[in-house]
């Protein structure tokens, strides 16, 4: 097992729920509240130097009782060592967690993808928008286990929405304001955009 697991336990005590090993990879389960402190410690402490964020993703199990896991793969480039850090989120609670973008800019799109696919919100993320699905996508979070393989809406409804989509809805709020197109939008759409309710933008008839 990676010695960083014991070092973490010695430093953070109860915030490290447990450590496990699978196929030779060490996994450390971290309490949600301590995530940022643990990550900063792992990155900046001499002897740890996990300076490279390989990946951020999430796992939901088929067993509905198991919590959803947000998974961080860290690497120390100098020491050629990997460490996997996981945070467990109860599916019945709010799926919110601190963003690690202040530590690694590379987490920006990765966290957006986790938000897009799993509905986990990252507190402190500079620009938490959907990334792979379009911003007005209203069917939910595709990689959740309760999401049907072919989507929630019927094929006919999906086609209808795609054909009727308002082209302005493909621009974000700030983009529209750059082009001064914002003032020309219908008042109700402008109001919804202002409130951030992007998934409720009406489709033009």
């Amino acid at each position: 097992m990676n010695p960083s697991a014991d070092a973490l336990r010695a430093t953070f005590g109860g915030a490290i729920a447990r450590a496990a090993e699978s196929c030779g990879d060490t996994i450390v389960y971290v309490d949600r509240a301590a995530l940022l402190a643990v990550m900063a410690w792992l990155r900046d402490t001499p002897g740890q130097q996990y300076d490279y964020l390989v990946d951020v993703t999430a796992v939901e199990y088929r067993d509905r009782e198991r919590p959803l896991e947000v998974v961080y793969n860290l690497r120390s480039l100098a020491r050629r060592t990997d460490l996997r850090v996981k945070v467990e989120l109860d599916l019945r609670g709010d799926l919110a967690i601190d963003s690690v973008v202040p530590l690694w800019r590379g987490a920006d799109w990765l966290e957006r993808e986790v938000y897009d696919m799993f509905g986990v919100t990252f507190r402190g993320h500079p620009d938490l928008r959907r990334i792979l699905m379009w911003e007005t996508y209203a069917e939910g979070y595709p990689l959740r286990k309760d999401f049907p393989l072919r989507g929630r809406f019927s094929r006919a409804e999906q086609v209808r929405q795609a054909l009727n989509a308002n082209p302005e809805a493909h621009y974000s709020m700030e983009e529209l304001s750059i082009a001064e197109a914002h003032d020309e939008l219908p008042p109700d759409m402008r109001e919804r955009l202002r409130r951030g309710e992007r998934d409720k933008i009406p489709y033009s008839e």
């Binding site: 699978s22 196929c23 030779g24 990879d25 996994i27 300076d51 490279y52 964020l53 390989v54 990946d55 993703t57 796992v59 939901e60 199990y61 088929r62 067993d63 998974v71 793969n73 480039l77 050629r80 990997d82 996997r84 690694w104 800019r105 590379g106 987490a107 920006d108 799109w109 990765l110 993808e113 696919m117 959907r130 990334i131 792979l132 699905m133 379009w134 595709p142 990689l143 999401f147 393989l149 493909h170 621009y171 974000s172 700030e174 983009e175 750059i178 082009a179 197109a181």
Partner: protein
């Protein structure tokens, strides 16, 4: 104020009343612009590039805020090619996922096949055979060459050089012919299986690859001669889109993008998989982290891949390709039709799939675009709970706004090209 004049021959009469060619005075400096008021300072323009635009290398859409011709802000929009591969994988047996990996980074399908197979084998605890190891190295390096060739060709077109494109695509065509010889498919190779390969290579393939290895460097030297000291190429790439080593690490860049910034990290050498630790090859590292260095790094990697291919062919020994485990590897069709035991194994693999033990595994391999990670989580059934692709070009592309802001719009095209994205992988 000095005035210069040049003689122009106009199409219509073109002569002044004295019968001499008309001369137009050329003055430097002020013109009658003032009468139109102040120039439009501070007024920004929004332009939309893509998703259907040849210079975005796929269905990438960039919304760009411009101050004159200077890029103030880039807002990339991705997802137009989102196919839900990761979701699909949760409904497929491990071997059934391999055809999906072809379609992620479709410019290097064989390397993706290898990445997935390695992760599944780590999860199941399978040791592959020596011959299979060498075949997979050959697959990975062939992929690197074709991917870099596409990158070189398309990027040179973006920057105004057409000839290298033709040379590069010719070389790619030769590899495609070899891939077709090996797998029957040029693009969607699906060459690996969990525990082995879909097919062994033939003697013709070995001869063809050897011939390729001997003649390929000539093209690289030709491209080198046309581009590396070309004034236009140098002018448009040097000092453009710079990422320092610190920034490259902080943005999680990988592959040639990371190494061009001066971080000497190559998964093949630093966390070796297959038997890369026993090959002799150099890892090219850039100094400035600009578009030019990325070009140099990729060009040198092609030479190194060629070197690895040569060594791989030398050490290619006879022996079985697949592991000797009838629960993993499909029996030959003739045996499945004539032998009861083989038929049962065939049936169980096709209908039930190969079960993986409870656990999870992450394997990162050095793909042409960067580190391709495959993260598999199993709950003991024949289908993964989670199949995650760490997409190198997605993560590299995330640094595009950082690299492009402050440069000219034309530099944005060069920078975007230098990232080497493939939208099938960005959007998955």
């Amino acid at each position: 104020m000095s005035k210069r004049t040049i003689a122009v021959e106009l199409a219509t009469p073109g002569l002044d009343p004295q019968g001499r060619p008309a001369r137009i005075p050329l003055a430097a400096g002020v013109g009658p612009l003032e009468q139109y008021g102040e120039p439009d300072a501070g007024e920004h323009m929004l332009i939309n590039i893509g998703p259907q635009h040849p210079a975005t290398h796929g269905v990438l859409r960039l919304v760009v805020e411009l101050d004159g011709e200077t890029v103030v802000r880039v807002i990339p929009h991705v997802g137009y090619l989102h196919s839900g591969f990761e979701k699909l994988g949760e409904y497929r047996h491990y071997n059934q996922i391999i055809p999906l990996t072809d379609r992620t980074d479709y410019l290097s399908p064989m390397a993706n096949n290898v990445g997935f197979a390695l992760a599944a084998e780590k999860l199941m605890g399978i040791e592959i055979t020596p011959r299979c190891t060498v075949l997979r190295v050959i697959a990975c390096e062939m992929s690197r060459i074709i991917s870099h060739m596409v990158w070189l060709g398309t990027t040179s077109i973006d920057l105004g050089a057409f000839t290298p494109f033709l040379w590069a695509f010719q070389e790619r065509e030769r590899i495609y012919n070899l891939q077709e010889m090996w797998t029957g498919a040029r693009l969607t190779t699906s060459v690996t299986r969990v525990g082995g390969m879909m097919a062994d290579i033939t003697d013709d393939f070995v001869a063809g690859l050897r011939q390729f290895i001997d003649t390929y460097p000539k093209t690289l030297y030709e491209i080198d001669r046309v581009l590396t000291r070309n004034a236009v190429w140098v002018g448009r790439t040097q000092g453009v889109g710079v990422m320092t080593a610190q920034e490259a690490i902080n943005y999680s860049l990988s592959g040639p993008m990371l190494r061009a910034s001066g971080v000497p990290y190559d998964v093949r050498r630093d966390q070796p998989y297959l038997d890369y630790d026993s090959y002799e090859f150099d890892v090219p590292v850039g100094e400035h982290g600009d578009v030019y260095d990325r070009y140099l790094v990729r060009l040198e990697e092609c030479h190194q891949s060629n070197r690895i291919l040569r060594q791989a062919l030398e050490r290619l020994a006879d022996g079985p390709v697949n592991v000797a485990d009838p629960r993993m590897i499909l029996p030959p069709k003739s045996r499945a039709m004539s032998d009861m035991e083989a038929m049962i194994y065939h049936f169980k693999q096709v209908m039930e799939g190969v079960k993986a033990p409870v656990g999870e595994a992450y394997v990162g391999i050095e793909n042409p675009k960067g580190e391709l990670g495959t993260y598999l989580v199993s709950d003991g059934t024949a289908k993964p709970v989670r199949w995650r692709i760490r997409p190198p070009s997605f993560i590299n592309l995330a640094a595009l706004p950082k690299m492009a802001e402050g440069h000219l719009l034309s530099d944005l095209i060069a920078i975007n090209a230098s990232v080497d994205i493939v939208m099938g992988e960005v959007d998955r």
